[in-house]
Amino acid sequence: MGSLFRSEPMCLAQLFLQSGTAYECLSALGEKGLVQFRDLNQNVSSFQRKFVGEVKRCEELERILAYLVQEINRADIPLPEGETSPPAPPLKQVLEMQEQLQKLEVELREVTKNKEKLRKNLLELIEYTHMLRVTKTFVKRNVEFEPTYEEFPPLERESLLDYNSMQRLGAKLGFVSGLIQQGKVEAFEKMLWRVCKGYTIVTYAELDEPLEDPETGEVIKWYVFLISFWGEQIGHKVKKICDCYHCHVYPYPNTAEERREIQEGLNTRIQDLYTVLHKTEDYLRQVLCKAAESVYSRVIQVKKMKAIYHMLNMCSFDVTNKCLIAEVWCPEADLHNLRRALEDGSRESGATIPSFMNRIPTKETPPTLIRTNKFTEGFQNIVDAYGVGSYREVNPALFTIITFPFLFAVMFGDFGHGFVMFLFALLLVLNENKIKLNQSQEIMRMFFNGRYILLLMGLFSVYTGLIYNDCFSKSVNLFGSGWNVSAMYSSSHSLGEQKEMVLWNDSVVRHNKVLQLDPSIPGVFQGPYPLGIDPIWNLATNRLTFLNSFKMKMSVILGIIHMTFGVVLGIFNHLHFRKKFNIYLVSIPELLFMLCIFGYLIFMIIYKWLVFSAETSRVAPSILIEFINMFLFPASETKGLYTGQEHVQRLLLVITALSVPVLFLGKPLFLWWLHNGRSCFGVSRSGYTLIRKDSEEEVSLLGSQDIEEGNRQMDDGCREMTCEEFNFGEILMTQAIHSIEYCLGCISNTASYLRLWALSLAHAQLSDVLWAMLMRVGLRVDTTYGVLLLLPVIALFAVLTIFILLIMEGLSAFLHAIRLHWVEFQNKFYVGAGTKFVPFSFSLLASKFSNDDLA
């Protein structure tokens, strides 16, 4: 708990890393994730830093590894993911690794290039055979059906398409044939027609089996075409058009024998290529398999190495260039770990001079570190979403653990719904170690991360549901109602009593639509229900009126307690930051202002509950009127709650009125007095006095050292910056704004807590409507068919309950609970102007390696 109440104390440390061992030290630090590095070279652009060359080398390695992973994935070889993450590679191994990888890359590129070439060759040959097969049918068809050739003299009895005979005629008939992609056929034909003005004849047929494109490797449908044309000129154009549409053109055999020869030759060549390709692929697979074994650890190692060099880039060199100086933020509790990590690092590299560290004093605000576990993490996230806490400030997350689920449950109060939510969260919690849940998609992961919040929210909803006595909008009669209807009948009372009271008789019961139970009649009200609301109210028509009054008062009481608690937490902040005057001049007036007005309101509510009973209820004054009268001093005296009420109220008003000017002027005037009377004390001291005190001796020691080194002037400049000037006007303005905000906020925030009532009302009514519209319909049908109807009705009821009441209503209640915490609660004490502590840790690197990660 202690660690959650405030962020951890931090200190600024200077690491002196011997340049030989810096890499190893940082590797040891990165494994442990202890410190956050400060960038000492902020004004040096990224390519002018010391270790750019090394970073570049890492990038080169990453490029090679990405290529490897891509090839391995393409070959469908499973990538083994190691369980443990290997440490960053020692410097000696890096060169070796680089050499290995480069060799591997060269080899791989060569083999793949060969393979691609072979495959392309093979595909082309296959295409060629297909083309030959298909075009054979074209020619036959041409001979039979082409009417154009009929014009030739009948003397020529040989095949009209015979090349030799055409030559004799003086016209040179040419053929171009090949394959074209399916999508381009139409455009291709059109252009051919346009360019060649119809002097060509195109025949084409679809290939029955899809083939791979030798260039892209895509499997697509192809068309085989055959263009016949006369004349050289047109031939050139046709060829150009074929190029334009990326057709695969193959030589067209002129005679049948030639065709057969080519086909035979092709077949043998395809056979040969197949065997060669298989051998190449086998070899490639072997190489890739070998590479796949180590690729995971290599990727991690290179990532770590790159991270280390990025950190080293943030360090500065000392004058002698022998050692690197890094400035880090480190939690004080981890200092000895830091020392040990440095020792380990130096020992590993076998350096003669160990690296060491020095604490240095600073006035800069350290980053905020709040250690969380899996339970508190969710709540801390809710607070961090508003703002990361200032250093050493009271952390509202600790209280949020209880108040958040509670305020949620006040709005979500339903025993049944709460239980369903609890069960769902319990399921998540019990299965939290399963990896599938961790990596599921976004919405599920959101629920998973908030599983403990959900768990508590469900539990608290069960509790408030019991108090409201609501279970899916129905009440549960566990202990027996405290009301007795039969006592209202005249027969159960003596005659003497009957005269004084309005009792029921048969005619009254028969003729009245609505009957009223009177608690003042003895025997009717037998005492309060042991837990929560009496179930009889579920039957009453004035149930809403009763519940509204109850819930409204409850939300005001809860809200004021919550806000007062916030102001009290502010006192803890002032105590810790040694600003005691703030307690007297800010916190106490604030408390008085709040309690004298709204605390008194609570008092009146509770007083009225306790003092007035059923018998005296008719003479009970209205709290609203009393409260208004408190400010208006009406002329006519009203009958108050208790004697002497007027004087008490006057006193409270005076206190309230007095606290306002104190709130406005107290702090500025006091600071002004301090500044004039006792200058240089306290004003500019903020929360870091503790650290300063600890290390005051070191200041003097290091101070001289720094001057000798002479390279820290710039940093010194930044450190002095925190000494602010005293500006009375500014302080006055800040305090005035703060006071106005607070005083108005007391009223508006109290009203804001009424959302507890509103949402809880809405939830109860919505579930009531759902019951009335669905279940009541299902239950009204008689038994024979009722069962058949009830099944779908229950299913629908369940679905609507989950989606509308649990998810939708739950989200809205969640949102309002968040708002109540962020706005109404946290603005009473929480500044939230800190920066988060982000340690240099390898575990924060994306350890999963996916394709997009590398590519």
């Binding site: 652009s45 990224s46 390519f47 002018q48 750019v52 970073v55 570049k56 990038e59 990453e62 490029r63 990405a66 290529y67 381009k184 455009a187 059109k190 252009m191 346009r194 360019v195 154009k237 150009k240 058009i241 190029d243 334009c244 549409y245 590519a855």
Partner: protein, 351 residues
């Protein structure tokens, strides 16, 4: 479009406008340029670009790095973004995108034809073509021998077809004719684009028309400037001027009569918008060139386009700004690789 287009704009184009504004936020800032200029080698440049929106777009390039590699990768990146916009666009924004690509298509066609004249291989020139202006029929351009041939056979079905109506001729395509063809195509393209924006109305017209007017006038000035000392007759020159700018009609007629730079400057002085531009041009021994001054003005107009919402001009402006940024980076990279640091600062910062 309906009268209150603001109400409906986001239904169809809200997502893309949001995207393009996000992309615009990734343009390099002055500070980035200052850092880039300090680079010693292209590797440094690469490292610095990695810290910007370009990310590790050069990560898969094997060494050594060259300027052309950087240029192609940058173009690819722009192209990816543009394709994404285009694939997600609805009418009439998609027509607007088509108009935007026509610009590059014209350039590519002309480039290919010039290449064919100089007997260079198609593949070599294809790699130089701007990826935004790629289309399938492009590679067959060198079949054509006359402009009407080119139109009838190859470009009939491309978006460029409507721009051919007044450049159909049977002249063989030599260097001069190609240049004429380019300018005529540009002229009808600009006029068509201008008409499209004007008809679209609303904020789009208010933003795009001035930009296109400026573009038209710039072309007029550049054509005039380039025609000094060539055999191009004054009448021919006048037919090349796009007639949708502020100069039309008086300015163009005067411009057609201009015989040297001074006369051109005198024409420009009649127009409040162009007068300061010509005054900013330095003389021969230093100062800015006319081209740079025009570029600067264009950048300014494009940046201002982002000040208004619910119009298509942002897409045009973003593409142009990105192009300017690429020109800047290439300029800086060239200066670095050629060790010609004296002129490295004459890039045109955008933000």
């Amino acid at each position: 479009m309906l009268e209150c287009a603001e109400l409906y704009f986001n239904v169809d184009h809200g997502y893309l406008e949001g995207l393009v504004r996000g992309c615009k936020a990734g343009l390099l800032t002055k500070q980035d340029y200052i850092n880039l200029v300090q680079c010693e080698t292209l590797e440094d440049l690469k490292i610095h670009l990695q810290t910007t929106d370009y990310g590790n777009f050069l990560a898969n390039q094997t060494n050594p790095l060259t300027v052309s590699k950087i240029d192609t990768e940058m173009r690819k990146k722009l192209c990816r973004e543009f394709e994404y916009f285009r694939n997600h666009s609805l009418e009439p924004l998609s027509t607007f995108f088509t108009y935007m690509t026509c610009n590059y298509m014209i350039d590519n066609v002309i480039l290919l034809m010039n290449g064919a004249l100089q007997k260079k291989s198609v593949k070599e020139i294809m790699s130089k073509c701007h990826p935004l202006g790629r289309f399938t029929e492009m590679e067959a351009v060198n079949i054509a021998e006359t402009p009407s041939d080119l139109f009838n056979a190859i470009l009939v079905e491309t978006p460029l077809a409507p721009f051919f109506h007044d450049c159909m001729s049977e002249n063989t395509l030599d260097e001069l004719n190609i240049e004429l063809l380019r300018n005529k195509l540009y002229k009808s393209y600009l006029e068509a684009f201008y008409k499209f924006c004007k008809n679209h109305g609303d904020v789009t017209a208010e933003i795009m028309c001035p930009i296109l007017e400026f573009e038209a006038d710039r072309r007029a000035f550049i054509i005039t400037l380039n025609s000094f000392g060539t055999e191009l007759s004054k009448d021919d020159r006048e037919t090349l001027y796009p007639r949708c700018g502020k100069l039309y009609p008086e300015g163009l007629r005067l411009l057609a009569q201009a015989e040297d730079f001074e006369q051109m400057k005198r024409v420009a002085e009649h127009y409040g918008e162009y007068k300061p531009l010509f005054e900013a041009v330095g003389d021969r021994n230093g100062g800015k060139t006319l081209e740079d001054v025009f570029y600067e003005h264009e950048v300014q107009m494009n940046v201002l386009a982002f000040n208004r919402q619910f119009h298509y001009g942002v897409f045009y402006a973003y593409t142009k700004l990105k192009e300017q940024e690429m020109r800047n980076i290439v300029w800086i990279a060239e200066c670095i690789s050629q060790r010609h640091r004296t002129k490295i600062n004459s890039y045109i910062p955008i933000l």
